[in-house]
């Protein structure tokens, strides 16, 4: 005689089928965050170990990729050994205005001409290397991973307004680095700076 309690349990989503397909995505995200292959390996391994340990908390049918990205970003922050600095941020609107005002200054002082000559690819890569948290995560999620503000907020577990101000500050920092690279390159290629 079968008891009522014998009804089959709802099958948990399979870790191999549900989580492992996102291994390449999580690796790419970790590479963008760490900017280093060996560090990315460590972060990815720890992310998936932690995901496996807490697999019971994953809600079947929810966005597993987003869940993994949240874990990955937390592992990354912890790997850096110092807690994320709490940065006092202006509101996103003010950050946007500051970026525009910086550009206006470069138009006035001629930096924009140098910027137009700059090879932006390597310059952006170098500028991203220098970008600190929490700004790098915001740029990686929105500008590199192509998430909406709302999706990035869900991964970072902060309000949308916080993502917006971090992202805009990050862009301002990036463009300030670019301007500095352009000014340095301008000096080194100016005829007056020729050797001998």
């Amino acid at each position: 005689m079968y008891s009522m309690a014998e009804s089959a349990p709802i099958p948990a989503p399979d870790f191999r089928e549900t989580a492992l397909p996102f291994l390449p995505d999580v690796y790419r995200f970790a590479r963008s965050l760490t900017r280093d292959a060996a560090d990315a390996d460590d972060v990815v391994q720890e992310t998936f170990l932690r995901a496996l340990r807490s697999w019971r908390t994953f809600i079947p049918g929810s966005d597993c990729r987003r869940w993994l990205f949240t874990i990955c970003r937390n592992v990354y922050l912890r790997s850096r050994e110092r807690a994320e600095r709490q940065v006092a941020l202006d509101d996103g609107d003010d950050e946007a205005i500051a970026a525009v005002q910086a550009h206006a200054g470069w138009v006035r002082d001629g930096t924009d001409v140098l910027l137009a000559r700059l090879d932006l690819g390597p310059a952006i890569s170098a500028a991203l290397d220098e970008l600190s948290e929490p700004f790098r995560s915001a740029v990686v999620l929105v500008d590199l991973e192509d998430h909406s503000y709302e999706e990035a907020a869900a991964i970072l577990e902060v309000p949308v307004g916080t993502v917006r101000s971090r992202l805009f500050r990050a862009r301002r920092l990036l463009q300030e680095r670019l301007a500095r690279f352009a000014q340095d390159a301008g000096f080194t290629t100016s005829p007056a700076g020729g050797m001998r």
Binding site: F15, R16, L23, P24, Y27, R28, R31, S32, A37, A40, D41, V44, Q45, F48, L49, L52, R53, G92, D93, A96, I97, A99, V100, H103, A104, V107, D112, L120, G121, A123, I124, S125, L128, V139, V142, D143, L144, E145, D146, S148, Y149, R164, L167, F168, R171, L174, Q175, L178
Partner: protein
């Protein structure tokens, strides 16, 4: 204490520039910003600069493919941790 001057059209547009470039604006705001850019050379120049920078950042997308060694290492760690 400072009085806040009435916000200029340019200021209002530039506060929303990144939202606009990211496609995050509601239709009415998006249309208003486009209309401003169509008639304001200064704001258009800022918009083009920011768009160029964002495109250069986006060009860094896609980068690193998962190395086979990393996949193997992660799988080994997961199996050791009890993945069946």
């Amino acid at each position: 204490m400072t009085d806040h001057p009435p916000e200029s059209a340019c200021h209002r547009a530039m506060r929303r520039l990144f939202d606009f470039l990211d496609g995050e604006l509601a239709d009415a705001d998006d249309a208003a910003l486009r209309a401003h850019l169509a008639e304001c050379r200064d704001c258009l120049a800022h918009a083009e600069f920011e768009r160029t920078v964002l495109a250069a950042v986006a060009a860094q997308r896609g980068g690193a493919p998962l190395p086979e060694a990393t996949r193997a290492r992660v799988m080994a760690a997961l199996e050791e941790a009890g993945l069946s």
